[in-house]
Structures are given as structure tokens and as C-alpha cells.
Assembly symmetry: D2
Homo-oligomer: 308 residues x 4
Amino acid sequence: MPLPSEFHEIAKRVNNWGRWGAADEIGTLNLITGAVVRAAAATVTTGRRIPLALPLRQDGVQTGMIPGRVNPLHTMVAVNWEMFGPDTVATSDDTVTMGLQAGTHWDALPHVSHSGKIYNGRPADSITTHGRAAFSGMEKAGPVVSRGVLLDVARARGAERLDSGHIVTPEDLDAAEELAGVTVRAGDIVLVRTGQIQQYLAGDREAYAFPSPGLSIRTPEWFHARDVAAVANDTLTFEAFPPEFENLWLPVHALDLVEMGMLQGQNWNLEELSEACAEEKRYAFLLSATPEPFTGGTGAPVAPVAIL
Amino acid sequence: MPLPSEFHEIAKRVNNWGRWGAADEIGTLNLITGAVVRAAAATVTTGRRIPLALPLRQDGVQTGMIPGRVNPLHTMVAVNWEMFGPDTVATSDDTVTMGLQAGTHWDALPHVSHSGKIYNGRPADSITTHGRAAFSGMEKAGPVVSRGVLLDVARARGAERLDSGHIVTPEDLDAAEELAGVTVRAGDIVLVRTGQIQQYLAGDREAYAFPSPGLSIRTPEWFHARDVAAVANDTLTFEAFPPEFENLWLPVHALDLVEMGMLQGQNWNLEELSEACAEEKRYAFLLSATPEPFTGGTGAPVAPVAIL
Amino acid sequence: MPLPSEFHEIAKRVNNWGRWGAADEIGTLNLITGAVVRAAAATVTTGRRIPLALPLRQDGVQTGMIPGRVNPLHTMVAVNWEMFGPDTVATSDDTVTMGLQAGTHWDALPHVSHSGKIYNGRPADSITTHGRAAFSGMEKAGPVVSRGVLLDVARARGAERLDSGHIVTPEDLDAAEELAGVTVRAGDIVLVRTGQIQQYLAGDREAYAFPSPGLSIRTPEWFHARDVAAVANDTLTFEAFPPEFENLWLPVHALDLVEMGMLQGQNWNLEELSEACAEEKRYAFLLSATPEPFTGGTGAPVAPVAIL
Amino acid sequence: MPLPSEFHEIAKRVNNWGRWGAADEIGTLNLITGAVVRAAAATVTTGRRIPLALPLRQDGVQTGMIPGRVNPLHTMVAVNWEMFGPDTVATSDDTVTMGLQAGTHWDALPHVSHSGKIYNGRPADSITTHGRAAFSGMEKAGPVVSRGVLLDVARARGAERLDSGHIVTPEDLDAAEELAGVTVRAGDIVLVRTGQIQQYLAGDREAYAFPSPGLSIRTPEWFHARDVAAVANDTLTFEAFPPEFENLWLPVHALDLVEMGMLQGQNWNLEELSEACAEEKRYAFLLSATPEPFTGGTGAPVAPVAIL
């Protein structure tokens, strides 16, 4: 079932192909300049650091709903091993098998394709099993550090968490921006809080996964208008599931990643940050969120930190 | 072969057990206070961000010398998969198997034990195959953000890289501190550059691994005297290999991790940072280096960034 | 909660420690002699080959109930990769991560220990994280080929499958032996059919896993009296779950593996074999069931075949 | 560089597409009939069982020469874990990550493709990252049990092992057949011994991998003329490496797997079998060599056994 014309119209409006040259592989990360980072560092007033990653463990957020996206299987290859003989210093070593998109992660730009293309008009078949992503792989992103802005949609709506069917609209983002008292500007990384991750934190990963609130197909234009550098939220699917429009699957992914060339983050735990921002009445901070640089990865784990 | 009395004497002098309470699990990370972080953020002047992680890929730094510490085997579980039918948005997904200590990483405190103990006097057998590290596992570290100071020992000695047999002494650190024009202080994260990683970057992972320059058994006292929060360098083994004293294996690991409770980083690529610091004539910066929070992990990958 | 005296009394009666010498690592596999195998080969009359392994795939029998025992995550490292250039022969290659006990498998003798011991009185701590099983590891078993006898307990009871609470007793085995018209003898490998695996084959892995029929604590004496070489069945847990006696966990494992030194097989698909045996009115056959020889493995996948 | 016309001529002569119907997925395994298996079972005279698999361990035969084909990383997820409380029966469990073609294995028919096709004329792109091999995957093979015939080319030439540059020709096979005193016939599984695996067994995996003796492009016609069901040998590459003809890579793979639809086995340890056959002056036996049934696998580990 081909993508509808409405999708293609929005796609045209938010498209960034060629904007940073035909050779560009990082999209809206280009918007994070030295000036942006200097200003972000200047927001640090207390030095408080808030972690946004979920702990990595076998009972992580994945339910099996997405085939192959496995929770971390973390095993030991040595426990107090006296490699050099008895009564010497003993070592312990670990190994993991996991989906790169299994926990708190960034989607790299080639994570989705549509109509045979990935970001900047490159052919989707530049991703191969053997070579992985030839363009815009996760290792290309480099350091991801900028001003972070929390758009606490749940709080702005007076809800502990959004209903599982809630679709986050541009109007929701406006209201959260107003609550924040911050104007989102070029190079910002926007964190959209739905509260949905409370379900996982309370032990119900099935409820967390589906149904889930998420971003509307109308939000990419909002992000594009403000030249946001990246967006993350606290859901498994990023956009609403079941989808906003019947038989239109992953349109927000396609607009953000393919058309705009903008990183998307999922499974970010924004609960402690939400409390801190409300307490301190400030919603902008220094955000450090560099993905693990997997060569050709179409996603990667990240351990983001908000520094207030 | 039991650890010699000289080791135990140093151990006594640098020991931090109980310093932050019997329940403490993070050791010298306690030294990173809000004030330290605020001061670190204030060092940002250009907004330049320098990545310190090696790309993660199958031809990584591991040679097989350390059993079970495998380079990333990164495979795709989907490539442009039209999960929802033909002509829909297609997704690509990745999986990895890797040693948590295989690439650019932090050693967590329980990575080594000696005399049956880990940091803060806890029993080494609190690490188990099934449960991994019960105390001081990698997820306990939380955000690792502080002032970073580059001690460019190679540059201070006028060498492109240190000889493979060079043992980095407190005097080397003093000289590098003088070159840096910075006084290392409480809560700093110190990055010690030997230049050894050039061997890997030039394609010779065997030469990189062994023999290797590294830190002397005398350096923990230097770090302890200054209340350093963590130390990383650009070698596979952190300390010199072959070891500084015959039959005394991993004494620096034992002093840093077990006695002081101080994170150690390995395989950090400090080459670009060295150039930048020399150019800008400044060696202190904001360092963001939060490990992936593997629950009970005795180490974890990290994608550190220096923000100048 | 220590093992009850009743357990220890049975243990004494079925114990084989020392029977094949203090150095023995294969237990009842010693009972498979050349004569046994010749006689087994002589049972082949049609040449029909019936596979007893479940296909290996991500939606295998594991539900997450047993931590770390993961279903196969089977990924491609190359798909039609033209390693040697365009228009050459292209190759596809696969990788898997899986629990060795995840699918159709044998438990090796050290898979369980009790009272600090494994088979033949060796210390349980001879199994280590780094070295795995020093004694009786899966690679020691060697070829496992013998006469197989199907004891079709479900059919003997006139049931399609046993109730989920049914505990298979010696009397059940007697009745199935009578149905089979075969006398179980020294060196035989006995396959006990409950029909439970139908639940998995019908798509309900939760129901397959638990609750499950399985072997009674009284069956090891039955096997010991006949000098059976190995026993496999068509359940996840081998013995009944929930257990036959409250707070007495895995007693059959302990008796079979530790005391007798007898391999146990689980998740064997005996459905087609059951049909064939009933049709052909014969229940003895040549069984070929050599485990994958994982060095130090406490279990291994096996692809058993009955040859009629 | 396209395949030369000489290749295509041989391909025509050995092609089996359509021979067992357009729907066939198992190729020459069709030649193993009940009668073949009955006759194979009748060869059993001593009941001696000889294992042909290499133990699976981290220092296996893979050198890194073939990207992604990793030796087994075998870790424990539990060691003597008292899952049910203190003093209960304790369990040990294992996990592995490995290339399906890493050790002693069968290549499934879709392991290679040429000219866009796999066996029986199916499109090569029926193999996908997400779905793996849609046709002729390893799970389709079913039980592989037949008469095995050892063609001991090394012994027939009076060599302990063939020179690393030796290319095994039809004339070599004739000579080995004469030594064997057996006429290879329809449905046989032929094991071709070069002795090359001695290099690995002596600890030199690099020498084992390359250069390597192997089968000539002329051997597929020899196998085809006799309607052999499958062929395995004791090398890493099966065919000679470097290749017999410059710039003609893997032609034997293409002829055996794609054109004939005949399984190929590699890394089979034929040393003990060679001794046994020479001692007993018999070279035919019952061979049981069922691959682990990985769904859609383009190869799989196997633990073959010769029963004499």
C-alpha cells in the first residue's frame, strides 16, 4: 500500500536533502554549532546531573513484539579469574548480546527508508547485511551535545501520563513550550515527555509497548520550523501505536529520519528530569547524548545526561 | 604468588574504604560535586566537541590475547524490511555481541579483586555468574561528567608516542601537568596520553596490545593525593605490559579500583584532543563520559566527549 | 532448605560413582557397547528416518521463565555477498546467539549439582565461569548412538497428551513398555512421551512451559534397574512442574545427572515418532543423538534421529 | 568479472534443477532412500563409533579471514546457581555466539548463489536479512543418515597429508576409491580426506586456513556421475585456496550447491576415521550427520558420527 499523497506533501515541506551539501551524512546535527554548545554550557547553574538512560538488563523494555530486537543478554566470561596464578589480582569480564535499538537509543538516519531512499536521497540499498549502513551510520554522528529542552506534554496537560491513545500534536508542543517558558530554537535537542515509560518502570512492559501515545505526523513540521537538531521521547515506538492513520505505518520516522535527516531517540526515561525541571522551574539544560559509535549502525545505545 | 608487602603498603596509603560510608558503591565519583561540574561547564569557550571513543567494529582493538573479550560482532536483523507490507516505510535493525571491555570503556570498580575483596571491603564473591556484580556495578556509577584534564605525557617528553617499554611515573605526570598549565584538583578526570593508540590507528593491533607503555604502580598515590575522580588512557592494558615488576600483575588495577574505588578508562583515543589542546594551549575542558549502564557490569562501553 | 532424607536414600540406591573408575566422566554412556550398537543397527528394517529436533528459531520454546536461556537469535552476516567482486559467486553466512539448553538438547552431567558435588563425586566448583565444566563437559560424551526405545506413556494411557499435572511413575513406564512390546535393557536410550510438546507445536509456549507433566522422583530407580544409558522426553522441564513434592526442586535432575551420571534430554519432539511406532507396531529403533561437542558445556543442542 | 564459459559448460552437465520437481528444496538428499539406509545400517559390524566433529571452543578454526564467521564465544549464564534457595539443587547454564559455518558444518544449498540464482533456479534474493533463506534452509534437510565412504586421498597418495597446493582431481578420487575397495554409488555420502586438518590439530590455524588443498572444479562431475548425496572434507575452504584458476572464485561451491543441489561439509576431522578404516581395511560405514535445524540457515553445525 503506497504512501498517501498527504504524506508526500508534508515530506516536501520538511525535506532537507542537499541543504548541507550532497555529501552530508548528519542532517540536522549540522545545526549544533559552537555557539549553540557555548550557550548550552552557560545554562548550567547547579551542576546537577540527571541520567536519562534505562539500566541495561535482560528484563529490559523489549517484549518480542519487534523480531530480533533482543534485550541485553549480559554474561560473564570471567569472575574473579586469577589469570596469572593463585593469590594474584583476579579479573572479571563481561559480554553482551543486544539489539542496538533495544534500550535507550538513538535511531540513526538510515534506520528507516521509504520509496527506496534514505536521507539525502541516497539509495536504500546502500544498506547491506555485510556492510551495514554505508551512509549516515551511527559512527558518523560524532558527539551529540547541545542545549536540551524538556517539553513536558503530560505535565502541561495536567496528567501523570498521557492516555495510551493520545497523539501528541503541535498544539501539545506549544502548550509544553509555554509551560517550559523557553523558546525552542535552532540546534536544540527536544525531549518530549508522555509519561508512558512509567508503565515499564512499574513492571508492565507489555502495556508500555502497546498501545502507546506518541508523536503526530504533524509534529515534524513543528520541529522543522524551529530547526531542532534531534528529538527523543519516553516511548518504545516514538510515534503513536496503533498509528494515527490506518495503514500509514511509521510516517513520523520517515519524515524525521529520511526527509529531515533528524535523529530520533526512544525509551528515554524523563521522569526524574520532569521532577527536577518542575522543581527548579527551568526546562533548558546542557544535554550530552553521544551514541555509541557503531560503524554502519542504524541505531545505537546512548546514556544521555541532562546537566542543570 | 602472594602480593608483595610493598604493594600492601601503597594500598594502605591510598585506601578509601569507608571514606564515603560503608554503603558506598561509587568511590571517587563522590568527589564530583555540583560545584565541580559548574566549574567544568565554565571552561567551555569554543563549544568544540572532540570524540574520544574508537568506532565500534569487528576489527577493533582486541587481538584474542584476553580470552572472551571479543570485538563487536555487529549484524543486521533487518535491512529495509517492509514489516507492514510492500511500499510502506521499511526498517533496518541491528544486533551486536561484544565484550563490555572490548573497545573504549570504563572498568567498573569490581572489575578486579585482590585478597578476596573488592572496593569498600566487600567480598569478591559478591560477583557471580548469574547475578554479576552485586556492588558497584556499572549502572551504579550514574552520570560521569566533570572537568577533564589532559596530561599529555608523550608531548611533554617531546615524543610522538612513548616507547613501548615506557612506564609512566609521577614525575611524568608532573611534567605533563606543567605543560598543561593546569593544577589537577579534586573531582577532575585525568586523561593520560601515551600515544600508544597510534599503533592501532595505523593498523597494527598486535603492536598496540603488547608490549605497551602504561602507568606505574607509583601513580595511584599521585592521583590519590589530588583526589582525582577517574583516570583514563590510550592503551589496552592501562598499566605497563609486561609489568613493571616481575610477577606483580595488575597492581595498578588493584590500587585504583579496589583500594581507591576509582574508575579506570582504556582504549581512549586522545590523538585529536592532544592536537586541539596544543593548538588552543589549554588542557582543561568539560568531559562527558557516562558509561552504558549495564546492571552489574564490571565494565561498560563509553563514548566520551571533550567539550572545549 | 536442605534435601530431605528420602532423597538421599534414593540417591544411595541409584548412585554410580566409582562404578566405571574414579576418572570416569561419561557415566551411563559406558553402557553403550559395540554389541549394543550392532544390535541397534540390526533393528533397522525400513530405513525410515524420523527427526526429533525442533527447528531452531527465535520463536522457540523459551518463554523467559529461565533467565539467560535465550531462544536462538539467528542473524545473517552476509547475504549474497560478492566477496570477490561483481558477477562472482556470492556467499551468505549466518551467526547465532542461543542458550545451549534452549531448544532440543542434552543436559550434560554437570548441568546440576547438589551438596557441592557433581557426578562421580567431583566438586561442584570445578565448574567455573572462565573454564566452564572441567569434568564431564558435553564434548566428553562423544558419539551418542544406541538402541532407542519409545515409551509412549500418553498412548498407553489412551490420552492424546498427559494432563498438565500428571506425574509419570514407574507404573506408567511399565505400561508403556508393555504397549511397546519391548524389554528395556542395558545401554538403551529411553524416550518418554507425554505429548506435552503439542502445546508448543500448537503455538502456546507458555502452556508448554508450565505447568507441565514430567518424570517422578521414583523413575530414576526404574532406569537404574535396567541400566538405561540416557533418557529424553518432550517437555521443557523433564520432571513435573510444579514439583512432585513441595520445596523439593529438581530431584530427578539431581538423581539422573549427579548420582547416576545419566544424560537427560528435553524438548524432544516425539509426535511423528509416536505415529510411526504405532503404525509399524514397533517401538525400538536405531537412535543417533550426538550432542554438539561444546567444550566444557553443561548442555548442548542435538538433532536426534530415529532410524526405523 | 563474469564466470567463464568453461564453468557454464560444466554447470549444464551437472545441473539437477527440476529433477525432483520444481518445488524441491533438498536436491541430492533425495537420493537417500530407505533402501540406501537399510544397506548402510547393514555395514555395521563392530559397533565402533567415530566422532568427526571438532570440539566447539573459542580457539576454533576461524582466523578472522572470513569476516563475521566467529569462533564460538561460549559463556555461562549460571554456575551452580541455587535458583530455588540455599542447599537446593543448583544449576549451570550456557550460552553461545558463533558462526553457523564456524566449526564442523554443512553448507546448506543457498550458502552460495551465482548469476542471481540458487538451487532449483530460485532467485538469490529469496534470501533476506530478516527472513533468511526462504528455500532450502538448513531445517529443510531433515535427517542426514546414509552410507558413508571415506576416500582417503592422502593415504592413497602415500602422504600423511596433501601438499598445501594440491588440487584433488577425479583421478585422485579414483585412486582413493580403489584403495577403499568400495564402489561409490547413489545416495552415498563421500568424505574426502586431505589430512589438512592436522595443521589445526597441531595448533596452527593460520596454516590450516590458507593455503589449502581442496577439490578441483572437475570433481563435481565425478560426484554427479555417481549420484552422490553429499560430500564433506577436512579443510576450511572445501575447494583449493588459492583457487585452481585465477579469478575463478568458489566454482566448486557454485557447482555443488547451486547446480547439483548437493550439501557440502567442511572442517570434518577425518583423522581417527582414516586410522580405523586402514586398520579394519574397510572404507564404508553408516554415517549419521544431521545438521542442527536452523530455520532458514545457509549452514549449520553438525556432529557427524561414523558407525563401523
